[in-house]
Symmetry: C2
Subunit: 325 residues, 2 copies
């Protein structure tokens, strides 16, 4: 069922059918004939053929490290809402946090012409990433990282962690930090530095630092190590809510009272934060909005909307709940 069939059935040329479908000049009479034939046949033009001729795919490539993560899923929800609203579909590329895969997808999407634009949510940006980005032939937005001179939306984990550390240090004297690898720019490096900055400002030497990954279990284990080496810890600042949730479970199991004996803080306000007992003092990132914002910036790059922002630093909110004094 192609455009030629329709044209023949309606007794017109295929150019006229094409014009009918694309707001061109078509006489009342032929338009009706074409409309009728299309109604009968249920004809829909081939996306592939249109794309080949016009160069427009109406697809945006979204490269993410892991879909199976609350913050990223919320981000994608925001992306999806705005992009779908503008008539774009999302081609999802899951990289399992492998830097090489990210770069590969960047090249693949761009060179094969399979997308009109790209949103990259990477946890770290190597020089290879940057090189790949700069050689892209389609507009793109970086999500979750700051990169000067490129469209990006990022979180201010540094100040978020500073604010929350400040809060905790009002009554905490022997703080420890459970973070993730410093190679991660946001949740890793930035929040770590935020913690250290506040400690230094208050003239407090951190008791210890442990490293976890993004799982609840690793938060539990890191907390266990911490308690073993430093039973006198009175404040545990965690780089993510999941780590903090693991820490809370661990502390409870070992009989420590929260926040009386030990304070715990998280970052990211996942659902967990509201549900753990005691509820978690944390910082809320507007993940869904960040996705929506990134989408809007990309639409700008695609010439669909006017959005002058080149860089957007997302705001955050401090939630002082019951895991701190």
């Amino acid at each position: 069922m192609d455009i030629n069939t329709i044209a023949t059935m309606a007794g017109v040329s295929r150019a006229t059918v094409s014009r009918y479908l694309n707001d061109g000049y078509v006489s009342e009479e032929k338009a009706e004939r074409i409309a009728e034939v299309i109604r009968q046949t249920g004809y829909v033009p081939s996306r592939q053929a249109q794309t080949l001729r016009t160069g427009k795919t109406d697809v945006v490539g979204v490269i993410i490290p892991k879909i199976n993560s609350a913050s990223i899923a919320r981000t994608v929800a925001g992306l999806s809402e705005v992009l779908n609203g503008a008539g774009y579909q999302i081609l999802l590329a899951n990289t399992s946090n492998v830097a090489k895969t990210e770069v590969d997808y960047l090249r693949l999407f761009s060179r094969t012409g399979s997308v009109d634009g790209i949103i990259l949510s990477a946890t770290m940006l190597t020089h290879k990433h940057i090189a790949a980005l700069e050689s892209l032939t389609v507009p793109y937005v970086i999500l979750g990282q700051r990169l000067e001179g490129h469209r990006c939306v990022f979180y201010d984990d540094y100040h978020a962690e500073r604010d929350i550390t400040l809060l905790a240090l009002r009554s905490g004297e022997r703080p420890a930090f459970i973070g993730v690898t410093d190679e991660e720019a946001a949740a890793g490096h930035a929040s770590h530095q935020g913690f250290l900055a506040d400690c230094q400002e208050r003239g407090i030497e951190p008791l210890a630092e442990e490293q976890a990954d993004f799982s609840i279990e690793s938060g539990y284990l890191a907390c266990e190590r911490l308690l073993e080496d430093h039973p006198d810890v009175d404040t545990i600042v965690c780089a993510t809510d999941r780590i903090a949730a693991g820490a809370v479970v661990c502390l409870r199991e070992y009989g420590h009272r929260i926040p009386e004996d030990v304070q715990v803080t998280g970052l990211g306000d996942s659902d967990l934060a509201k549900v753990v007992s005691p509820t978690l003092t944390t910082v809320n990132h507007h993940y869904k909005s960040s996705g929506a914002e990134a989408a809007r910036m990309l639409l700008d790059g695609l010439g669909k909307v006017q959005d002058s922002a080149q860089q957007v630093c997302m705001t955050y909110e401090l939630y002082a709940r019951n895991s701190t004094r």
Copy 2:
């Protein structure tokens, strides 16, 4: 940079370049020349043109009600792993749980020829869904619903809820149920029926039934209503972990001890279940595996693998934790 340029530069016809790229007959000598030119130019064939010619997109459409949900995100992770491994990309369609949008995407994807196959994760299947499915021109798998005569992967929420209700009723005498709308086949209707069946078998009249949606907050509110009308409730069976988490928070706030005064059960083993206090008795659904399984079934439909299963009922595991006696 197209195949003609490459052909000219290498001094061969474009057919030969095409053969070089697709394992056809090419002499050693010309192959080397072509390889060199491609290396220099960084040429990558246009996906669009290949697709138009071959009819293969190497893309699978994945229609989901909401990406921003732990269970669905895990499912998509499973899909992604298997599909990417087989060389397929994922075109994501978020329907915000609007039945019409689901049907629209089904038609759109199929008719425009933008995907080779479709995975549909719908919460309910109307006759319109079924009609749309049956008129598809590409293979498809239904995820999360059972539909006789169609490839599908589903969860046995009925027996899962029966098992967990049975467990709770060992010591509970005045049970209530917090569910979602019965229009939802799995989490709604099936788990509701499972609960009722066990009550009936034990000759127990359920104390009350409340309805929530999929949010933690709605679980909290439903629990609040329940406590107001039936302060003597001693067992609350919830259709999802998020509802249960909300109920736990509510009960705690109202000073009820769990499980001594009131037992609570969930379903779905989200991260929440391990973190709420007390930890939640629930059933673990293998969401990620279900995605992987659905992907394999689709690959079968695409002729890529042999997977004779037409219908897969996912197994589950009962986790008796501390929210039941």
